[in-house]
Symmetry: C2
């Protein structure tokens, strides 16, 4: 029986999400198990294998029917060797995850980092299906990115391309980032940065509505800011405006440099919808000189919570479509 | 007789430089004629054709021995259709230059913008011969760039990729750029910006040594600043330091995004040598988190004044090496 399914594993520090799909990315079954990273890599790998078996059982799929297994997790990792180089949230260092999975199942297995996989998910199954090049931006606790050029992930010299969260957008006087540097995009436009900025505003005597909504300064998050902005609170609106002005300005730079066909924005903060997309599009309209680029579509990601599974599945599908048929 | 030569035409607003080379980029003959753009496109095109004939005569080359003709000029232009869309310094609009040349000579002819051609020159014949990916940065009156990925020019959606001079590095409070926007890299790190900043310093009562060297505020250019800095003038040193801190920080962002193997810097301001490369390398060392990327070579361009001719020649050579042999 010819292969007609693909399996995607979204390996996170909290949970392992596994899905089995057809080649159109329709999810036929999906499972979630806790990662329990503290139990060590052997236990986690065993749980991944078990999840793969369960998901196949769920639709009575045989191994012959599965074209391959894709795995995505936070980097740095090496997609060519299939080794997770370092994953702090899993406490993994140099784990040859692909070898472990291939030993067990004997079918093609692929590894990619979260953000690149997400970009691929959007290219194959989401908002980027009509283009060959796009920049995917995820805005959540941090800011990440994946670049699709000529229909495939652009990885760069040592698979570290697309680290847009650490593009420096404030070369002078910026806030320190988790990476150690100052003025990274992530220090201004991430959900964490938005929440922190709101706490600063409250600490300086402003933003009372945000403090009320959160039950005190320490409870303030990006969600609080969004809720207050939705009520028309000017302090909250100003915080979002600045965060998304920087994000939009960064998109201008990216269009000048990469000249891609589409910008796709996902991640938790993108759920703010127009509150994010409207200022980003406005800034691009104002600041972009090249006329075709000025009208580059800037759209929400479409793969939603399945982005990890579908990105991992994308690795299998693109490989299956490229490999010579048997 | 098999083709063994390539012709490169570097079409500028002031002069037309034409060269004929072997496939290793050795220039066998070279000619310069004034462009006289004011005489109109027909006259300019006639001069290009004449230059091509003369350069072939110089080495007694026949058309059968020439693999093709490359032309580079300022953009925007369309390398696929061979049309110069707009070249303000030539007063050209929608000129099908490639068709004109093919009509005359009947051999493969290629068109590319200056900065992309320069990147290709460095990849084929200069500092980038050992890598498959690089970012070429030209720092002169403006700031431009060309991106080489997988050994070839990366052009983007509508051939506008690599416009790094208009990456916005100062989203708030920047100086207005010639492009109309504020805070572009070009407004801080170009030769023009360096000269203007020095004039500002003098206007505010500082920088007396620079004013002396230039015989007054209006004569101050980037060269003045470099000369004063070479003498140890602290005002001049501070101006260069800031310009190149921004350039270095931009390189950090580019390494995080493009993760290329090498950064090659050319253009008039790069002739400052260590005065430019030392601060750029220092900033990258300080601000780059990814360890392999931190040590990305940042090197001077090697094709010098022949960059345009060799970039144009590169278009021919890469095509000849890719096309099936006859």
């Amino acid at each position: 029986m010819p292969a007609r399914y693909a399996i995607g594993v979204d390996l996170g520090g909290t949970k392992i999400a596994t899905g089995i799909t057809n080649f159109s990315g329709n999810i036929l079954a999906r499972r979630f198990v806790p990662t329990h990273a503290s139990e060590g890599e052997t236990a986690v790998i065993a749980r991944i294998k078990e999840s793969i078996r369960h998901i196949m059982d769920d639709i009575d799929a045989s191994l012959e029917e599965v074209a391959g297994i894709g795995i995505c997790c936070p980097g740095p990792l090496n997609p060519e060797t299939g080794v997770v180089i370092m994953a702090p949230n899993l406490n993994w260092s140099h784990v040859p995850i692909v070898s472990h999975i291939v030993e067990e199942f004997g079918i093609p297995t692929f590894l990619e980092n979260d953000a690149n996989a997400a970009a691929l998910a959007e290219k194959w199954f989401g908002a980027g299906q009509d283009v060959d090049s796009l920049l995917y931006i995820t805005v959540s606790t941090g800011v990440g990115g994946g670049i699709i050029l000529n229909g495939d992930i652009y990885r760069g010299r040592n698979h570290m391309a697309g680290e847009i969260g650490h593009a420096i957008v404030q070369p002078e006087g910026g806030v320190q980032c988790g990476c150690g540097q100052y003025g990274c995009l992530e220090t201004i436009s991430s959900g964490t940065a938005i929440g922190r900025e709101a706490q600063n505003v409250v600490a300086e005597g402003g933003g009372q509505r945000m403090a009320e909504l959160a039950g005190g300064i320490d409870g303030i998050t990006a969600k609080t800011v969004a809720d207050a902005a939705a009520e028309g609170d000017p302090d909250a609106e100003a915080i979002l405006e600045r965060a998304f002005m920087y994000l939009g300005t960064f998109v201008v730079s990216m269009l000048n440099i990469l000249n891609v066909e589409k910008i796709v924005i996902g991640g938790g903060v993108s759920k703010l919808g127009d509150n994010l997309f409207e200022p980003v599009r406005r800034v691009v309209g104002e600041k972009m000189s090249d006329v075709p680029a000025k009208y580059t579509p800037i759209v929400p990601a479409e793969t939603g919570d399945n982005v990890g599974i579908l990105g991992a599945v994308g690795l299998v599908v693109k490989s299956a479509f490229r490999a010579p048929t048997k």
